[in-house]
């Protein structure tokens, strides 16, 4: 090139900015919140507007056990992250596995509920507005749980291979941020579908 780069005063210490992974995940959560908001609005807007049955009151049963599973997994993943930060890798893996099991249990619960609704109650996504909005909202959440479980499994496999150490702690925190979000969304979905919606 014909020209040299202009010389500017150089770098110095004492300049610290937020970790980009965390900022990126926060942005993703913002975008996801907007998506969920639209589905929640649709659910609430169509509440009680179905032209035919079944209605939420007739068929829905509150999944208390599975909700407890999912909500306690937010605690286990948090503690797992803290353990990794202090370098206790085996304890981290144990709690990580527990988080994974709790998440999988929740997903099993959703599957069981859907099976019951479809085969016993005859409620499908095309039955009525309730079916459409219910399966979309709960399904969107279940999709996010599934995505989270896949990522948790990948970390578990890396952990079992001995590749997850203290230095990955910041990245693990980014993933647990996502998992906290999935749990927080369930609080909203649970309130809307099983408390307000009936």
């Amino acid at each position: 090139m014909s020209t040299l780069a202009t010389q500017l005063p150089e770098n110095s210490a004492g300049w610290k900015l937020p970790y980009r992974g965390k900022v990126g995940m926060a942005c993703l959560i913002l975008a996801e919140s907007a998506i969920f908001t639209i589905f929640v609005v649709a659910y609430l807007y169509y509440l009680g507007k179905s032209l035919s049955g079944p209605t939420p009151r007739e068929v829905l049963e509150t999944p208390i056990f599975y909700t407890i599973c999912l909500l306690s997994s937010t605690l286990t993943i948090h503690i797992a992250g803290k353990l990794l930060e202090s370098g206790r890798r085996v304890a981290f893996l144990g709690l990580w596995l527990l988080t994974l099991i709790l998440g999988a249990l929740f997903l099993y619960g959703t599957g069981q509920e859907w099976h019951r609704l479809i085969y016993e109650r005859g409620l499908t996504i095309s039955t009525n507005l309730f079916g459409t909005t219910y399966y979309s909202l709960v399904g969107l959440h279940a999709f996010h749980v599934t995505a989270g479980l896949i990522m948790l499994t990948i970390v578990l496999l890396f952990g079992l291979a001995g590749r997850v150490g203290q230095e990955q702690s910041a990245r693990i925190d980014v993933l647990s941020l996502y998992w906290h979000f999935v749990d927080a969304v369930w609080v909203v979905v649970f309130t809307v579908v099983y408390v307000l919606g009936r």
Binding site: M1, T3, L4, P18, R20, V23, L30, I35, I125, S136
Partner: protein, 557 residues
């Protein structure tokens, strides 16, 4: 030291087979190359969208014209709108953001380079998917069939019953896919600006371009996501037999309108805010003054972002909302004019008393200022719900939003091309061709879009296939079409300038405009690593400080 490294690279490049170069571009994660890819991709679709616009205008040139069939006409305006918004305006602005933001904040790349490449290719394949509908829109049944449901695909028109075949599915999935690309890029821009600034670059010293792209990206996260959600719902309706927008099962067509416009109106600001950013960088440099009212400019941008999230239903005054809703959306829509007015005032304040240089980038920015002001004024007119009842769905509205998008967004974009082309290619664009481009485009633009307001006021509905003679629309429509051709010729001049200057243009050097932001401190084009050593800044105009050590900005800020 840095210049040697680049010289070796270019020497290698000349001897390599083109497949290797192609491979390098396809697999690149460099923000500058991805920026260029975004821009080239958008320019390609600009030509296609322009051809569609020309077909629409030829059809409307005279009454009872039969240049294309009504079905083709419907496809043309659907594809024109969708292409121009999603596959021209968005990618071109993301391209500039990609290229400029890391350079302006003193970073070596975006925060997530691979996510950046992934987002680009999502957008790229989204566009290809949309255009594949011309071939595969009817599936295996026969010839292709582009979507013809309008760019907003109102329910129930987009449902299975009224839009058979797969054309609407291509539309939906193309927007869904490119929407994911947009969200990825927005995440990337925010993370880059928050986490990758060079030492000393506090938020209050950041170039306005970075500030406005930060706000724009935040809006993308909140505005594109509702569209994504709505598209998922539409797919559920079309493929799984859902009832979201099926009025016969109790669903609501109005809900789709709300969801679409919760995306649709902020989208306008997503497009215009980066153009404000271009104006805020170009006008000070060619007025030889720092920007007037920097903090107010930032505040006004954030304010626009907030207010514009609550104006969407002014697109829906005619559906019969309650009078409270009408009043609310009238007031918010008028309120968004206030921070926008502050911005225009600040740009004028920057020019006031400056030594203005009327180079091509500045000409386009001045055109932008005046035209955007007029576009805003017709916007205020339409914000008033009783006025809108009269003119909603008429050519007045078409004229209004083209005034925003062409007169505002496109003019600022042309300015940005003339301003940053030397940085991107190392060559200056020809001033003579640039001025010819500007004046031809101004004449064509005003011929088309000034006159287009009048048939709207006379009652010409938008999307009309043809019309009866003798309603006072004939001459106007003819002149509007002539203007469209003048704009087309001006665009050809622009493209010719881009191509000729790339090979024959004057060498630009690092800093052809005597500008003040960090991108002008590196060579043109910048090396792959941007900065040999990460700079440290002490004011909003680091290069001014460097050029005038006796009177640096850092003494005053």
């Amino acid at each position: 030291m840095s210049s040697d490294a680049i010289a070796i690279q270019t020497a290698e490049a000349t001897g390599r087979p083109w497949v290797a170069t192609l491979h390098e571009w396809v697999t690149t994660v460099d923000h500058k190359r991805l920026g260029v890819l975004y821009i080239l991709y958008a320019l390609f679709f600009l030509v296609i969208g322009g051809i569609e616009a020309t077909i629409i205008r030829i059809q409307l040139m005279r009454p009872h014209n039969e240049f294309v069939s009504p079905q083709v006409f419907n496809r043309m305006f659907t594809m024109h709108g969708t292409t121009m918004i999603f596959f021209v305006a968005m990618p071109i602005l993301f391209g500039f953001a990609n290229y400029l933001v890391p350079l302006m904040i003193g970073a070596r790349d975006m925060a997530f380079p691979r996510l950046n490449a992934f987002s680009f290719w999502l957008t790229a394949f989204g566009g290809l998917l949309l255009y594949f509908s011309f071939v595969g829109g009817s599936g295996l049944y026969g010839a292709g069939n582009a979507p013809d449901v309008g760019w907003w695909a109102y329910a129930p028109l987009a449902s299975r019953a009224f839009s058979p075949g797969h054309s609407s599915d291509y539309w939906t999935i193309a927007l869904l896919v490119s929407g994911f690309g947009s969200i990825g890029t927005a995440i990337n821009i925010v993370a880059t600006i928050v986490s990758m600034r060079c030492p000393g670059m506090t938020l209050s010293r950041m170039p306005l371009l970075a500030w406005m792209n930060l706000v724009m990206s935040g809006m993308v996260l909140l505005a594109i996501s509702p569209l994504t959600a709505a598209q998922i719902m539409l797919l559920v309706d079309r493929y799984l037999g859902g009832n979201f927008f099926d009025t016969q099962a109790g669903g609501s067509a109005t809900l789709w309108m709300h969801f679409f416009w919760i995306f649709g109106h902020p989208e306008v600001y997503v497009l215009i805010i980066p153009c404000f950013a271009f104006a805020s960088e170009i006008i000070p440099v060619f007025s030889r003054k720092p920007i007037f009212g920097y903090p107010v400019m930032v505040g006004a941008t954030v304010c626009i972002a907030f207010v514009s999230m609550s104006v969407w239903a002014h697109h829906m005054f005619t559906i019969g909302m309650s009078s409270y809703a009408n009043s609310f959306f009238t007031i918010t829509t008028m309120a968004v004019g206030v921070p926008t007015g502050i911005k225009i005032f600040n740009w004028l304040g920057t020019m006031w008393g400056g030594k203005i240089q009327f180079k091509t980038p500045m000409l386009f920015c001045i055109g932008f200022l005046f035209q955007f002001l007029i576009a805003g004024l017709t916007g205020i007119m339409l914000a008033s719900s009783p006025f809108d009842w009269q003119l909603s769905g008429s050519y007045f509205v078409v004229a209004h939003f083209h005034y925003v998008i062409v007169g505002g967004i496109l003019f600022a974009l042309f300015g940005a091309f003339y301003y940053w082309y030397p940085k991107i290619t190392g060559r200056m664009l020809y001033e003579g061709l640039g001025k010819l481009h500007f004046w031809l485009f101004v004449i064509g633009f005003h011929l088309t879009f000034d006159l287009m307001h009048i048939p709207g006021l006379l009652g010409m509905p938008r999307r009309i296939y043809t019309y009866e003679p003798g309603r006072g629309w004939d001459t106007l429509n003819f002149l509007v079409t002539i203007g469209a051709f003048v704009q087309g010729i001006a665009t050809l001049v622009f493209v010719a300038n881009l191509v000729i200057s790339y090979f024959k243009g004057r060498r630009a050097g690092n800093d052809p405009w005597d500008a003040w932001t960090l991108e002008w401190s590196v060579s043109s084009p910048p090396p792959a690593y941007n900065f040999a050593s990460i700079p440290r800044v002490a004011s909003r105009r680091p290069l001014w400080d460097l050029k005038h050590p006796e009177d640096p900005d850092s003494h005053y800020e």
